[in-house]
């Protein structure tokens, strides 16, 4: 029986640690709201008074940005958790601790994510909804499924970072890799351009990547665009990516550990 207690302790620590930068926190909220507003204004100009484009109303666009940028603020992933520890050598001692390293990594991120959900997502979304407005969820069940799907979406985002972090066993500096990874996430996940408006050939490519599972699947569920069977399919795709990426990450982790042992830490 593995005790979860230490992981709660790590999560609590990162949760509490967030309060240290009060001013930063408020600025962060403002930042999210501004990002939502920029896209809102751009799309208002693009729509130029039209009720809908390709069957997508401006309210749906607003909903897409509010939810995906809101979730973006909650989805805390520290891309440098492992790389920093490999660079300064502290990984060797940390692996000796009687706590699962990945569990600790996740707990640390989750503590942050919970803090962000309560103190960032809620106010930022509330203010955006007041000033911009948002489509109501299709029905209460869809709202619940939205949150569930968002949780899986976080899983996908986290495991992508997990794999990328493992590369730090072989590379001195992973900043470039992380930056390029985040470019892909930004463009292909729908948080900067709603995926409805992607050219068809791009949509074809995106279908085979994990990126649309992060924000766009939850948003579609929220808007009631998916039938129950499509929702189920969406969940399965999210789960597939989580399992696949996590396994890939673990494979690299094992290899990396060996490399670390050979080098003598």
């Amino acid at each position: 029986m593995i005790s979860l207690y230490p992981y709660f302790a790590f999560a609590k620590k990162s949760f509490l640690g967030r309060s240290a930068y009060r001013f930063d926190h408020f600025m962060g909220i403002l930042n999210t709201i501004l990002r939502i507003f920029i896209f809102w204004e751009i799309y208002r100009a693009l729509y130029g008074g039209r009720a809908e484009v390709d069957g997508v109303t401006i309210t749906m666009v607003a909903t897409n940005f509010i939810l995906s940028l809101g979730l973006d603020s909650v989805f805390c992933v520290n891309d440098y958790y492992l790389p920093n520890r490999i660079q300064d050598g502290s990984i060797a001692t940390e692996m000796l601790l009687p706590v699962n390293f990945h569990g600790r990594m996740l707990a640390d991120n989750l503590g942050n994510a919970l803090f962000q959900l309560l103190f960032h997502f809620v106010p930022a979304v509330a203010i955006s909804v007041i000033f911009i407005g948002i489509a109501a969820p299709a029905d209460p069940l869809m709202l619940i499924l939205f949150f569930l799907s968002a949780l899986f979406g976080y899983g996908v985002l986290w495991t992508i970072s997990f794999v990328a972090q493992m590369l730090s066993f072989w590379l001195i500096n992973v900043w470039s890799i992380m930056t390029i990874k985040n470019v892909f996430i930004n463009v292909l996940s729908g948080s900067m351009i709603p995926l409805w408006f992607m050219p068809d050939w791009m949509s074809g490519i995106i279908r085979f990547t994990p990126f649309s599972s992060i924000y766009f699947t939850p948003v579609q569920i929220y808007l009631g665009q998916l039938s129950l069977s499509e929702i189920l399919q969406g969940f399965l795709i999210q789960l597939f990516w989580i399992v696949f990426l996590f396994s890939a990450g673990m494979f690299l982790w094992k290899k990396g550990q060996k490399k670390l042992v050979v080098q003598g830490g």
Binding site: F23, H25, R44, A45, T179, I180, N186, V187, I193, F197
Partner: protein
């Protein structure tokens, strides 16, 4: 004394170059990553305009031209003002203490010991690509007048953003953490600045013109060359003000910086 300053600039630059070439692969990857990261907004606007054709009367080439000014000025800026952008970190790791202990100008040291040539290549390269791609397709007649205008506008745009960095660096003397403030006043405003400001809410336009005057970095200079209809909403003199705004803003901020140094608290211990 003048020669001596240039000599030191050379030594600093040589030192930076040598440091980078200790990690050759990383240096190249870094330039590429910066290029791609900065291109994100461009890719997004490109896909968007495939669907929507124009944004408030601006077509894709005109928008790219607007963007190119932003990246060109930033490419120059990053050579001179990286040290100010990263000032918070320099304070925290004690680097600024060390600058104080050396008999040279503080800004001079901050600027020349941090010049980020690779990022400059990434940003400036993107700016040049965008410029080449768009400048021939937006109906500008390039003659001596417009070229001179363009160059002074770029210099003014660099100074405006340099002043913003300097202002934020100065705030760092009073506040422990200013990353969010920087995110808000610089990076977010810059995101707005990629688009014609006329599409935004009046309050945001006001900010872009009078608070963090990004509009003078690219929108008004681009208007001088492109003359789009939405310029009707602003006094036409604004198209000529960029160099003046840059110079005044920079001088005022420099005064604030000089005044604030006495409150510097150092770090740790």
């Amino acid at each position: 004394m003048k020669n001596d300053t240039i000599h030191l600039m050379g030594v600093y630059t040589g030192t930076i170059m040598k440091s980078w070439f200790q990690y050759k692969v990383d240096a190249v990857l870094r330039s590429l990553a910066v290029f791609l990261r900065e291109a994100t907004g461009i890719i997004v606007i490109y896909f968007t305009l495939l669907k929507f054709d124009t944004l408030n009367g601006w077509d894709i080439y005109e928008l790219l031209f607007l963007f190119s000014l932003l990246f060109l000025t930033y490419g120059v800026l990053i050579i001179f003002f990286t040290g100010l952008r990263d000032f918070g970190r320099t304070v925290r790791d004690g680097g600024f203490d060390r600058f104080i202990l050396r008999p040279r100008g503080l800004l001079f040291q901050l600027i020349f010991s941090n010049a980020d040539w690779f990022a400059a290549i990434g940003h400036g390269g993107l700016g040049i690509v965008l410029f080449v791609f768009s400048a021939g397709n937006v109906g500008i007649t390039w003659n001596a007048g417009s070229v001179i205008y363009y160059i002074t506008a770029v210099i003014g745009g660099v100074l405006i953003q340099g002043a913003i960095f300097l202002f934020l660096a100065t705030l760092n003397i009073y506040l422990l953490e200013t990353n969010s403030l920087k995110e808000l006043f610089y990076w977010n405003m810059r995101k707005f600045a990629g688009y014609p400001i006329s599409i935004f809410h009046k309050a945001i336009q006001f900010c872009m013109i009078y608070v963090v005057p990004f509009a003078f970095v690219n929108y008004f200079p681009a208007q001088y060359l492109l003359r789009k209809e939405d310029m009707a909403g602003y006094p036409s003199v604004y198209m000529y003000l960029t160099p003046a705004v840059g110079a005044v803003l920079y001088l005022v901020t420099y005064g604030f910086w000089r005044y604030s140094l006495r409150f510097y608290k150092s770090s740790g211990n």
